[in-house]
């Protein structure tokens, strides 16, 4: 019984983190049609930076105030410059989509190697509420519960932002019809840059949560990009609720499978994807 509780709680905890990363990825794709392979590098840089900052005496929660705006600004500027130029050069949307993915591959190599250059392959970690509590017989480390709480706050705040604010509605409108949104007076370039920046911000938030509970290295970027891609395909490309649901599923399945055999986790993910794509190619909540 305690094993099941353990799997479920840890599954939900991982699901929260995966949901955060994947929301960012799906936002960047849904609005800007950029499949951002460098997404996980934002997470890695933020995870490592937050660890360095905490070691230097900054409170872990305070690193959010530093890493998140930084990630947003980097994403915003990248979109306003590189991706915008690329969009102007591309003769149509489909060309842009494939070019943008290639560009993000390039950014992945650059950012990943910056991380490796600075931190090498050693892991970083710090102590933050790292003692266990008993929940329904399962032993859970407190910082992971804090992480889950923060992830839930971010997810809810993001939903409120998208559904209730003027800018959030403009983002949704742009993802559904760019031309119509422009005709309503939405500044498309700016909106796309905000989305790309917000995607980076969400990845950075997930990165700090990983730094809080685990021991990140400069190599975790690509792994997380791949997980986010799986989650996004599972949940439906461009669907934000799909990203949260997919994240939760992947979190739970990952924990359940790793209870039996850790090496089968990725196999299980891809098996899920294959089965899903055969039954529902659009993903769970895709349109």
């Amino acid at each position: 019984m305690s094993t099941v509780v353990n799997i479920v709680i840890y599954g939900i905890i991982m699901g929260g983190v995966y949901g955060l990363i994947s929301m960012g990825l799906t936002l960047q794709y849904g609005v800007g049609k950029i499949l951002n392979v460098s997404h996980g590098e934002f997470l890695m840089l933020s995870a490592m930076t937050s660890c360095v900052l905490v070691k230097a005496g900054v409170h872990p929660l305070l690193t959010f105030v530093i890493c998140l705006p930084a990630a947003f600004i980097v994403g915003f500027i990248l979109n306003m410059t590189l991706y915008r130029w690329l969009r102007n050069f591309s003769k149509d949307e489909a060309t842009f989509e494939s070019n943008a993915m290639l560009m993000s591959f390039g950014l992945y190599f650059i950012l990943a190697n910056i991380g490796l250059k600075i931190w090498g392959t050693l892991s970083k970690s710090y102590q933050f509420y790292s003692y266990p509590v008993k929940i329904l017989g399962a032993t859970i480390i407190v910082n992971r519960l804090i992480g889950l709480g923060i992830a839930i706050v971010f997810i809810i705040a993001f939903f409120i932002f998208l559904n209730k604010t003027r800018l959030g509605k403009a983002i949704r409108a742009t993802s559904q019809s760019t031309t119509a949104a422009a005709m309503m007076g939405v500044r498309i370039n700016k909106t796309m840059a905000i989305c790309f920046g917000t995607g980076g911000l969400l990845a950075a938030a997930a990165g700090i949560l990983i730094g809080m509970s685990f021991s990140p290295t400069a190599q975790i970027g690509l792994t997380n990009t791949v997980i986010a891609l799986i989650v996004v395909v599972l949940g439906g490309m461009g669907s934000i609720p799909g990203a949260v649901l997919g994240g939760l599923l992947i979190g739970l399945v990952g924990q359940a499978v790793s209870f039996f055999d850790t090496s089968l986790v990725t196999v299980a993910y891809y098996l899920m994807i294959i089965i899903l794509l055969l039954i529902r190619p659009k993903g769970l909540l895709g349109r």
Partner: protein, 236 residues
């Protein structure tokens, strides 16, 4: 001076010339129809007004201000509402949210609630479904939603592209009735249509576009008697 002036527009898609020295104007308070078959260049001409297409030469001005080089997102704030073909409503947003987007510019956002109430009076059908997603509406209802969304910004000029296309005959009549009622609110209308007969019935003047040229122009009552129009467009 006319409200909307389009002067000597030449426009190309690659090497193909889509518009040949096209000039037309729309006076304040008028309903003007731009008619023609599929591919005649009607939508291209509209897009030169909205800034979606850049003409090779020629000028467009609205209320004395040049529209050359004005980006599409600024058109609306100048008082022009554009309804593209098919309406292009936002499928995964509710009817209310679609209407809210019609008042997106900051200057209009604060008064959007009053605007929505006004639209619900004009289109009671939308009120019943205000929480429904736009994707669940029928073709005619989507077109009405698109019209209402366009009217949210209190436009001076409405550009309607193929308002009646793909609608059931009863819906066409309904939609054209609404266009006619806009005149009473002082809204000027440029109606781009393949539905020649019904457009001529509600419009004051019409232009007929053929292969990128203005083939005919004049008051609708005259054009309806024109033997060429009768033969080619009215099937008489």
């Amino acid at each position: 001076m006319a409200m909307l002036e389009i002067n000597n527009i030449n426009c190309f898609y690659g090497n193909v010339q889509a518009l040949w020295d096209v000039s037309m104007n729309v006076g304040e308070g008028e309903i003007v129809a731009l008619l023609g078959a599929n591919g005649a260049g009607k939508t291209t001409l509209l897009n030169t007004v909205t800034g979606l297409v850049k003409p090779a030469s020629g000028h467009v001005s609205f209320m004395g201000k040049s529209l050359d080089g004005v980006p599409v997102h600024s058109i609306m704030e100048m008082g022009i509402a554009y309804l593209p073909e098919g309406g292009r409503t936002f499928p995964d947003m509710s009817i209310r949210e679609n209407l809210e987007m019609g008042a997106y510019p900051r200057s209009m956002w604060k008064t959007r609630k009053a605007g929505i109430d006004r639209m619900f009076e004009l289109f009671p059908r939308l009120k019943e479904r205000s929480k429904q997603m736009a994707s669940t509406l029928s073709g005619g209802e989507k077109q009405m939603l698109a019209m209402a969304r366009g009217l949210m910004s209190n436009p001076k000029l409405c550009l309607f592209d193929e308002l009646s296309y793909g609608l059931a005959p009863i819906m066409v009549t309904e939609v054209f009735r609404i266009v006619q009622s806009l005149r009473e609110d002082g809204i000027t209308v440029l109606l781009v249509e393949q539905n020649v007969k019904q457009s001529m019935e509600i419009a004051d003047r019409a232009y007929v576009l053929e292969n990128g040229h203005i083939a005919l122009e004049g008051p609708c009552c005259d054009l309806m008697d024109n033997s060429y129009v009768k033969k080619a467009y009215l099937g008489l």
